[in-house]
């Protein structure tokens, strides 16, 4: 841990040129703690076994009769939320915001935003939520502050309680840090034993209490916070089952291992042993330093083989590709022909440069989902199986317990940067709070709003992601769709009968060209739609290719020779942060045939829907403060939705 002291000193001294500001202190704390959490490393796994009678379904869910819609309903949610059970959130001031608050806010209750005391409420409630606190040190700050008896019964707990006396802040953090460096906190001990069990059970109870089959699905989950040398390999995990099932095991953390391959092994063992279901969702590949979607070696340096590909595809069928720390779809440097690739990018690594600037990563193919989908085709060609066959969602990763990525109602990354406050304040070094993105949500097509149906939609990848807007998007792939099919009242039934929904496979071309039936409707309370695009990637002679097709659009624009479409006129009044729906369409629908389809080539397609330009959250904040937007962020954005892909595999 010698590195750690050096790091802190370097980091703190790098802050010398800034004015004292309470928010900075909190931000800095956040950063340091985050790093420190990720530095634990130990390989003990002491799960506690308790036999249970009914591990598969919570009693409440079994009793309720919920109406199912075979054509699926659309549900909105967030699978990535932190509360005061996360050590970093706690030490940075998310002290009062419990998992209970997280669920209540998501359900639409009025809450108090701690920094300002203002009443806040999500504009439109969510249908489901997963509270995913960091497994490393889960709830221990909170319990140590409250001197919980089960924690005080341990030597480590008593030490921790001394450390967290008083108000959270830098001195407390440093006390904790020093103790940890000296090995005095015994966090490894309390992370795995009876302490973890007690906290984990309490954490799970919140979800059970808030779960209302048919109305609101409250999931049990956590975050596995692995960071290799500042490179983000984080995953959130959740189960469709209730506390009874989840209490049988303890959440796998980076304390156990920082290698995803070990996490998948644990998933294999745990799901078998306790008859539970679990799904793992990687996020922030944009700052993985080329480690998230490797195409040669795994995280331990082993050659990627069939077993890696199969295991990964099994446990990680979904990727969270847009969130507060940026969108990981693609990068303009790697997709120069995509004029929409430069969207809410984020490149801040979780480590210090020792100077006044944050450590930034350079874009690599393995950092973005589009190239992972492409490399998946390549690996499938050589291995016979595709490790990167994943669907896509958005989620927030907010550390405020309050999930709102609504542009005009953004609650922030920490309990600092939400609402109409000065967004130009530094988060760390040269990173400003306005660099955060008010994004995203997970949209799910499921038969009903129950834990099981929503989880199943994740597994079959009938889900999509948005950057916070509630654009409605439906995609079916097939060979026989006609334009008139999508004009029918019941195009959805036709979609399932003649094709497959997003997240699925097609393989038997039989001399036909692949068609997509796409329907998009604007967010009922948001901006109109600009266009629908299909992003196709394919493999020619072992080389990956990509092309973006504009397939449906608003207004009387014509495609140019290169297939590009002129931008739609912006109606945004930046000064007042307003826009009008005088341009764009409320609805776009199209059956599109791939003009370049080649039945011999592996291909993967996903749909991207763009809204008309609207004011970014930072512009809305500056307007409320009666000033011009701060420099350093685009004042106007085009919100978007990304479908899960449809794959075409030639029959050999």
């Amino acid at each position: 841990m010698g590195f750690f002291n050096t790091f802190i000193l370097e980091y703190l001294s790098s802050k010398q040129n800034q004015f004292l500001h309470q928010n900075d202190m909190q931000n800095q704390l956040f950063y340091c703690l985050f790093i420190s959490i990720l530095l634990f490393s130990c390989s003990t796994d002491k799960t506690i076994t308790t036999p249970v009678e009914d591990p598969t379904t919570s009693a409440k869910e079994a009793k309720a009769a919920v109406t199912k819609n075979p054509n699926k309903n659309l549900y909105w949610g967030d699978t990535h939320i932190h509360t005061n059970f996360s050590s970093d959130a706690f030490l940075f001031g998310t002290i009062m915001a419990t998992p209970d608050d997280a669920f209540r806010f998501a359900k639409g209750e009025v809450m108090t935003y701690p920094p300002t005391g203002e009443k806040i409420k999500i504009n439109r409630p969510l249908d489901f939520l997963v509270v995913t606190d960091h497994a490393e040190g889960l709830g221990t700050m909170l319990k140590a502050r409250d001197k919980a008896s089960f924690l005080m019964a341990t030597e480590a707990g008593r030490r921790l309680a001394k450390i967290v006396e008083g108000k959270p802040g830098i001195p407390m953090f440093l006390k904790w840090l020093r103790a940890k460096n000296l090995g005095e906190t015994g966090l490894t001990e309390i992370d795995t034993g009876k302490v973890m069990q007690t906290i984990w059970e309490e954490h799970n109870q919140y979800a059970d209490d808030h779960n209302q089959p048919g109305k609101f699905s409250a999931f049990i989950g956590w975050e596995w916070t692995s960071t290799l040398n500042g490179n983000n390999l984080h995953r959130v995990l959740f189960t469709p089952q209730g506390a009874k099932a989840a209490n049988q095991f303890q959440p796998y953390s980076a304390t156990h291992s920082s290698n995803p391959e070990d996490l998948w092994n644990w998933l294999e063992e745990t799901t078998k042993k306790y008859e539970v279901d679990l799904v793992s969702i990687p996020h922030n590949s944009n700052v993985s330093g080329g480690l998230m979607f490797p195409d040669e070696k795994d995280s331990k340096g082993n050659q990627i083989d069939v077993s890696y590909a199969k295991t990964r595809a099994k446990w990680e069928p979904i990727v969270e590709m847009t969130q507060i720390k940026g969108t990981s779809e693609a990068h303009p440097a790697l997709s120069p022909n995509d004029e929409f690739a430069a969207f809410e990018l984020w490149d801040i690594l979780l480590k210090s440069t020792g100077g006044n600037t944050a450590a930034r990563t350079t874009p690599r193919r393995a950092d973005f989902v589009r190239y992972a989908l492409q490399d998946g085709l390549k690996l499938e060609e050589s291995l016979g199986t595709n490790p990167y066959k994943f669907g896509m969602i958005g989620s927030s990763d907010t550390h405020t317990a309050l999930s709102s990525v609504e542009e005009d109602n953004f609650t922030g990354k920490n309990l600092i940067d939400g609402g109409a406050v000065d967004k130009s304040t530094p988060w760390i070094n040269d990173v400003k709070n306005l660099d955060f993105s008010s994004s995203g949500y997970a949209a799910v097509w499921a038969e009903s709003n129950t834990r099981r149906d929503i989880y199943d939609a994740f597994i079959r990848k009938e889900v999509y992601g948005t950057t916070g807007s509630r654009i409605q998007l439906r995609v079916f792939g097939g060979w026989d769709f006609e334009q008139k099919d999508v004009e029918q009242a019941d195009f959805v039934t036709t979609g399932y009968q003649k094709g497959v929904p997003m997240g699925s496979d097609l393989n038997n071309a039989a001399g036909k060209k692949l068609r997509l039936m796409i329907h998009a409707a604007k967010d009922a309370e948001g901006g109109n739609l600009d266009r629908i695009q299909v992003v196709k990637s394919w493999l020619v002679d072992g080389k990956t290719q990509e092309k973006i097709y504009n397939v449906a659009w608003a207004g009387d624009r014509a495609l140019d020779k290169a297939g590009k479409l002129a931008p739609l006129e912006s109606t945004v009044d930046v000064k007042n942060a307003t826009y009008t729906n005088t341009v764009g369409e409320v609805e776009l629908a199209k059956v599109w045939e791939d003009p370049d389809f080649d039945a011999a080539q592996r291909a993967v397609y996903y749909v991207r829907v763009l809204e008309i330009p609207t004011p970014r959250y930072s512009t809305i904040a500056s307007a409320k403060l009666g000033r011009d937007p701060w420099a350093g962020a685009e004042p106007v954005i085009q919100e978007r939705a990304y479908s899960s892909p449809i794959w075409y595999t030639p029959v050999k």
């Binding site: 002291n5 802190i8 000193l9 703190l12 001294s13 802050k15 010398q16 040129n17 800034q18 004292l20 500001h21 900075d24 202190m25 800095q28 109406t67 819609n69 054509n71 309903n73 659309l74 009062m96 209970d100 608050d101 209540r104 209750e109 009025v110 809450m111 108090t112 005391g117 439109r124 409250d146 830098i170 001195p171 440093l174 020093r178 048919g214 109305k215 409605q472 999508v486 004009e487 029918q488 009242a489 019941d490 195009f491 039934t493 329907h519 409707a521 604007k522 009922a524 309370e525 409320v586 609805e587 629908a589």
Partner: protein
């Protein structure tokens, strides 16, 4: 007049000041405590910690000891520069009437007053009940609707209305179940079925005239009613349930009310502290 002026203390003060100025000007040196910047290790360590916004004397002590001579000189130079500029600014009165500085100090004070300890509060069921009754409007549950619809595009010259009306002439159509109704009508941009949705939600997807018409409908669960107009066209509605708007029972939202009540007590506590401070001031208002 002159006599009066010579008795004015301000004049004495200005005169004394002028004489001192002349004295220092002539003697060519600025002595006086306020022009001395005293630096010891303590000062520098404090400076380092505030610059870094981190406070741990031992850590910084160690860091200081490791500094090379050049680094120490640089630190000294920085400190002297900051201190001299600060004092000059204060001399020029730049700290006066600056609302940024004032606001910052007020914030610090508010932070000190914000010392409410939740764990010391016990909330009785009676006080919770009283709070709930006082703030009942906050716990209002609006009406919720569950229905299916068959949609006809607006069209031109009432074409949509004509098609919608003609559609329900048929007895077969009148008896359609929700599932059987799916292939009929036009594509609607959102959904065919809505379960327990509030009028606010529905308004965003259908518009105001639609929700007003819906509110007047009877929830038969069997009959297709309408057609009613929305922003998009005409709708036949099968309304299966409509809940009456009501205040949520305290028992159902106990934890919410409790959290709100705690927030209220916290605000009360802070306000009482502020009032207590204000009481010691005599306020003179001259409008």
């Amino acid at each position: 007049m002159l006599k009066k002026i010579t008795k004015e203390p301000l004049v004495h003060f200005l005169l004394a000041g002028f004489l001192l100025f002349v004295y220092f000007k002539i003697s060519g040196r600025d002595s006086g405590l306020e022009n001395t910047i005293t630096i010891n290790k303590e000062t520098l360590l404090n400076f380092m910690q505030f610059q870094s916004k981190a406070f741990n004397k031992d850590v910084f002590d160690a860091k200081f000891e490791q500094f090379s001579e050049t680094e120490k000189q640089q630190l000294l130079k920085n400190y002297i520069q900051e201190e001299a500029l600060y004092r000059e600014a204060v001399k020029l009165g730049l700290d006066q009437n600056d609302f940024v500085i004032k606001r910052r100090i007020v914030q610090k004070m508010e932070f000190i007053l914000d010392d409410f300890d939740e764990s010391l509060v016990t909330i009785s069921q009676d006080s919770l009940q009283a709070y709930y009754q006082q703030h009942q409007q906050r716990y209002f549950q609006p009406a919720q609707y569950t229905f299916a619809h068959i949609f006809f595009k607006k069209g031109t010259n009432e074409a949509g209305l004509k098609r919608a009306t003609a559609f329900m002439q048929s007895a077969k159509h009148q008896n359609l179940s929700t599932t059987e109704s799916l292939p009929f009508g036009d594509r609607f941009l959102y959904h065919r079925n809505y379960a327990e949705k509030t009028s606010n939600f529905l308004e965003s997807q259908f518009g105001t005239s639609f929700t007003q018409a819906l509110a007047k409908m009877e929830a038969t669960g069997t009959k297709w009613q309408g057609p009613i107009a929305s922003d998009h066209g005409w709708h036949w509605i099968k309304l299966t349930h409509q809940s009456t708007p009501a205040f949520s029972e305290l028992s159902a939202i106990q934890s919410t009310v409790r959290a709100d009540y705690l927030g209220y007590l916290k605000q009360q506590h802070k306000q009482a502290q502020i009032e207590r401070l204000i009481k010691d001031y005599r306020v003179s208002i001259d409008l």
